[in-house]
């Protein structure tokens, strides 16, 4: 269930942080890819900041709070903060012996580009999961067919369970299909998606304690039973 159109109606609530987890993850994914919604979101947030400033309580922070914040970080590095582009830039700024053949530089750049794309996708995938505030998250394991695939099943306290998935667009005539794995064993169809990249797939079959979840590639109309080996699977949730 990827969001294709601009989520104009829900963007104000998204800026306010008032959406439920499924809606929140879908819109976060859209905003990540949409310049127009990014700009609109910034305008809503700026208005909120001004409203917050007149609503915040005027109270003195503890005197040594600033010092504690600074001392905690002095001498350390913001390890998780530097973007992949900044890391590449830093790397390229280092002195390199002139004797290194140009072809190695090209190979290096291509490698960085691939790693960078993966990192970017990983970041977006992690951000989508970071929006989960009140649910249980179980990661699915990629199988040998697609080791870069990622997915997690989110079981919120309220509402339907759903998958946050990172997979490429399925081949023409095919679809990604989710399954709830019951003891028996039985695979119950639980929804399909033709989306690619990072997307949300709401599970249409109930999921019980100890059930597993899997994703397979199926014909475009979906299947009643899996016809291919799973690309991602969790034996138990």
């Amino acid at each position: 269930m990827s969001v294709e159109r601009h989520p104009t109606e829900d963007l104000p609530a998204y800026a306010l942080g008032a959406l439920d987890t499924v809606e929140n993850a879908a819109i976060a994914d859209h905003v990540e890819r949409c310049d127009q919604c990014t700009r609109d979101l910034a305008r809503f947030q700026d208005a909120l900041y001004q409203a917050a400033a007149i609503g915040a309580v005027d109270v003195d922070a503890p005197r040594n709070l600033r010092a504690r914040i600074v001392l905690r970080h002095r001498g350390s590095r913001p390890h998780a903060a530097t973007s992949w582009t900044a890391r590449i830039a830093d790397t390229l700024m280092r002195p390199v012996p002139l004797a290194i053949p140009a072809v190695l530089v090209v190979i290096l750049l291509v490698s960085f580009a691939v790693v960078g794309l993966n990192r970017q996708q990983n970041d977006r995938y992690e951000r989508a999961l970071a929006g989960v505030a009140d649910g249980r998250v179980v990661a699915l394991t990629p199988t040998g067919a697609n080791p870069d695939a990622r997915a997690s099943v989110v079981i919120p306290k309220q509402g339907q369970p759903y998958l946050v998935v990172r997979l490429p667009v399925p081949p023409s005539g095919k679809t990604w299909e989710a399954w709830v794995l019951k003891p028996g064993p039985t695979a119950v169809p639980a929804g399909t998606s033709n989306a690619g990249d990072i997307f949300i797939l709401v599970l249409t079959a109930p999921i019980g304690a100890g059930d597993g979840v899997a994703i397979t590639l199926e014909p475009i109309a979906g299947s009643q039973q899996p016809t291919t080996a799973p690309v991602l699977v969790a034996d138990k949730t």
Binding site: A47, A51, I54, V57, D58, V59, H73, A81, A86, A133
Partner: protein, 190 residues
């Protein structure tokens, strides 16, 4: 600092965040000097007591330290980015560690958007603060209430609907109308 009217330059804010991304802890202190008061004031209002606000403020600035490298100017100003980090940190705290009784107290406190004891003139010019207050006052009561519950209470639209015994569609409509009006009127005023 307390009596100063702080109107930081946006480009200067961005340079601060760039320094933080390169591991400059003093820049983090300078960011605190600019926005620590409003950040602490927001956390103080959202959380049950000063000790908690202090703990979450440290977590929030640690998040700033870790995320500075991923800040993008096109996604909004530094101050709104920092405010979003603080709110998320407060909501996370309440959902993971906050006791239910503490949260119920905060619902009452969240019922009004504008506080009596304001921090506004420390972070907005006095004239601007008065205009913002006027725009907020123009909102109908029911719209102001849903904004306050969502912003200060950290409640989702469906939680607000359940707690105020209002249809979810009505709550969504009020949030949308209020946010659009707030944005439009504040942009007209600026």
């Amino acid at each position: 600092m307390r009596s100063a009217v702080v109107v930081p330059d946006k480009a200067d804010d961005v340079r601060l965040v760039e320094r933080i991304a390169h591991g400059d802890a003093e820049a983090l202190g300078e960011l605190y000097d600019r926005y620590g008061r409003v950040a602490f004031g927001v956390l103080y209002r959202m959380l049950p007591g000063p000790e908690t606000a202090e703990e979450v403020a440290q977590d929030a600035f640690h998040a700033v330290w870790r995320q500075a490298g991923s800040y993008r100017t096109e996604r909004g100003s530094v101050r709104t980015w920092l405010l979003a980090i603080c709110r998320h940190a407060a909501i996370d705290w309440r959902r993971t560690r906050g006791k239910r009784v503490e949260r119920e107290v905060t619902i009452d406190a969240a019922a009004e958007l504008v506080s009596d004891a304001r921090v506004d003139e420390r972070v907005l010019t006095a004239l601007r603060a008065e205009r913002v207050r006027a725009v907020v006052r123009e909102l109908p009561d029911e719209q102001r209430q849903v904004l306050a519950l969502a912003f200060w209470g950290g409640y989702s639209q469906s939680e607000i609907a359940a707690r105020t015994d209002t249809p979810l569609g009505t709550v969504k409509s009020r949030v949308r109308l209020a946010m659009n009006k707030l944005r439009e009127r504040l942009e007209e005023e600026s």
